[in-house]
């Protein structure tokens, strides 16, 4: 776990003010010939306000997802753009990813969409083998950190115990969000955020590795995981969603009420050892050599 949840903070603003990371854009060198080097933003460790995934309860009642000040402990490489259709097609050509219908092998500039978590994971494993680096889907926390001001989280719904009032408030909030056109847009269409990461929260929702959890907040403020379902993963984008890992199209895979994701895609991340860890490793190597 590279992220540690510390304390529930009273104000999200305080945590936001402590954001300290700067994006370092570094085109990657030395990738194998059959892997087009992805542009990468390197995020430095820092604090951020975060709402963990899952449904929360306290004293037997559903509550809004609590916000916590959370820390990214090690530098994180994030693909500036989502994985492209051409990149995915190379994985298909290498017989490492399932073939998908709407993938144009020439589209270096369009995100692959209509991918399930399973295909995204197959791609990540292939890409990691090709590069020799630990590329993988981000956790929800990592996605939120990379998304910075584009991270919407789970806005408070309605206070009180009344189940129907919460339900209707959530329905109203979802209904107020304008539906986006489905056509995948060229990279850069939705702009870059303050961390230099492009097209976050556009019309592509991105798979994360975080499993659905049901959590209870105890009187002490501690959070306890009651149940976990890893057949369902958190999707991040304009709003957070949970989706079964085999679904490729959330619009027709969703339920009768609620705001579906327009497209399902993904980008990968790669953790770098922290400066201290790197130094320790170097020292270790030095001693080993002696």
């Amino acid at each position: 776990m590279r992220l540690s949840c510390l304390v529930i903070v009273a104000t999200v603003a305080a945590a936001m003010a402590s954001l300290a990371a700067a994006a370092v854009l570094a085109p990657r060198a030395g990738a194998p010939a059959n892997v087009a080097p992805a542009s990468v933003a390197t995020l430095q460790p820092g604090w951020f306000a975060y709402q963990p995934v899952g449904d929360f309860e306290s004293a037997g009642k559903t509550i809004d997802t609590p916000a916590r000040a959370t820390h990214l402990d090690a530098p994180l490489d994030v693909m500036v753009e989502p994985v492209s259709q051409a990149a995915y097609a190379r994985c298909v050509a290498a017989a490492a990813c399932p073939k998908l219908k709407a993938v144009d092998p020439a589209a270096e500039n369009l995100p692959v969409v209509g991918v399930s978590w399973r295909e995204a994971t197959a791609y990540a494993e292939w890409y990691a083998r090709q590069t020799g680096e630990d590329w993988r889907l981000p956790t929800d926390e990592e996605w939120a950190y990379a998304a910075a001001e584009r991270f919407r989280g789970e806005p408070p719904v309605a206070s009180g115990d009344d189940f129907a009032r919460r339900w209707l408030a959530k329905f109203d909030a979802d209904s107020a969000v304008a539906r986006q056109a489905k056509s995948p847009q060229p990279f850069g269409h939705f702009g870059r955020n303050t961390r230099g990461v492009a097209d976050l929260a556009g019309n592509v929702w991105e798979w994360t590795n975080s499993c659905y959890e049901r959590r209870a907040v105890e009187a002490t403020g501690e959070t306890r995981v009651l149940t976990r379902n890893c057949g369902v993963r958190a999707l991040e984008g304009e709003h957070r969603m949970f989706m079964s890992d085999f679904i490729r199209d959330g619009v027709t895979g969703g339920c009768s009420a609620g705001l579906p994701p327009t497209n399902l895609g993904f980008r990968l991340v790669h953790s770098r050892a922290s400066a201290v860890a790197r130094m320790m490793a170097s020292v270790g190597a030095l001693f080993a050599a002696l």
């Binding site: 309860e57 037997g60 219908k101 009344d162 189940f163 129907a164 009032r165 339900w167 209707l168 329905f171 109203d172 979802d174 209904s175 107020a176 539906r179 056109a181 489905k182 056509s183 049901r214 009651l226 149940t227 619009v251 027709t252 009768s256 009420a257 705001l259 327009t262």
Partner: protein, 364 residues
Amino acid sequence: MFNRRDLFLAAGAAAGAAAVLKAAPAMAEEAANLPRREVELVAPPLVHPHEQATRRGPEVVAFKMTIVEKEQVIDDDGTKIHVFTYNGSIPGPLMVVHEGDYLELTLVNPKTNAFDHNIDFHASTGALGGGALTHINPGEEVTLRFKATRAGVFIYHCAPEGPMIPWHVALGMNGAVLVLPRDGLTDGAGKPLKYDRIYYVGEQDFYVPRDASGAYKTYDSAADSFVDMTALMRGLIPTHVVFNGAVGALTDKNALPAKVGETVLIIHSSAMRDTRPHLIGGHGDYVWLMGKFANVPLRDLETWIVPGGSAVAALYTFRQPGVYAYLNHNLIEAVFLGATAHFRVDGKWDDDLMTQVRRPGPIA
């Protein structure tokens, strides 16, 4: 004049009813001497203001509809087709009269349109439901009057000739007429039934041709789409089955509002295909199964049927707040093809009707 009650009293048998019908005056002049009322139509799911029961005598109720040929987005992906509409909406507006009234419609086909159209009222008697008397070319208008002799909900639709008939209807040219009993709705045993709100849901099947890559094709005009679309229609499998003209026309921010304790009359029409409405989390308290008020309504239904080519009325009093999906319970059509609406119901939750005894959690 006669009304539904007279029909019941006359005999309660077909022969008796026929005798009353024969005795009714058939003079065309009668309508000319009746009071005349002009009614402004509104787009569905709303319905123009009307009395449920009326003390007034029969009158001529005059409506005007303009035929609008236009392009319309029919799903969330932005799929666009050329549609034909009565008054700009799919379905066309609901026209409400009382049994014994004369429904008078002026139908306008503006010069800017490309096709000839007409209207066949299932509520009317003779001349192909008025279809034979209402054929109008672009730049023409026509006025038809018919006597509303039967109480119920009835569809109307365009019925030009040959393959134009299903094509015009599949492009959206259908709507409904509500002929209320003069004394209002009853449960069939003398208890009056009233509604606080009325909504009109028109179920529409669309057949959008695809290109070689599987993407929906677009056409420069309706005429250009005719060959491909009618070929697809022969396969009888729609690409879209929607409520009120487009996927999502009655969901989310377009949800139908209601309150706990309110009674809602839902009119559901389907011009071509059979369908089966269901209110998730609710019921049909009273459903006039084939949509005709001379029959006793069925009670406490979970799902009801609307035969293609008809409309049905269902009455429900909301008892719990929350979101209700109202859909075609062929869930494939509801979820994949679009036949879903939402009711958004405010009010106080009734723990007696339902309660979550134990929250979801680990198995003890």
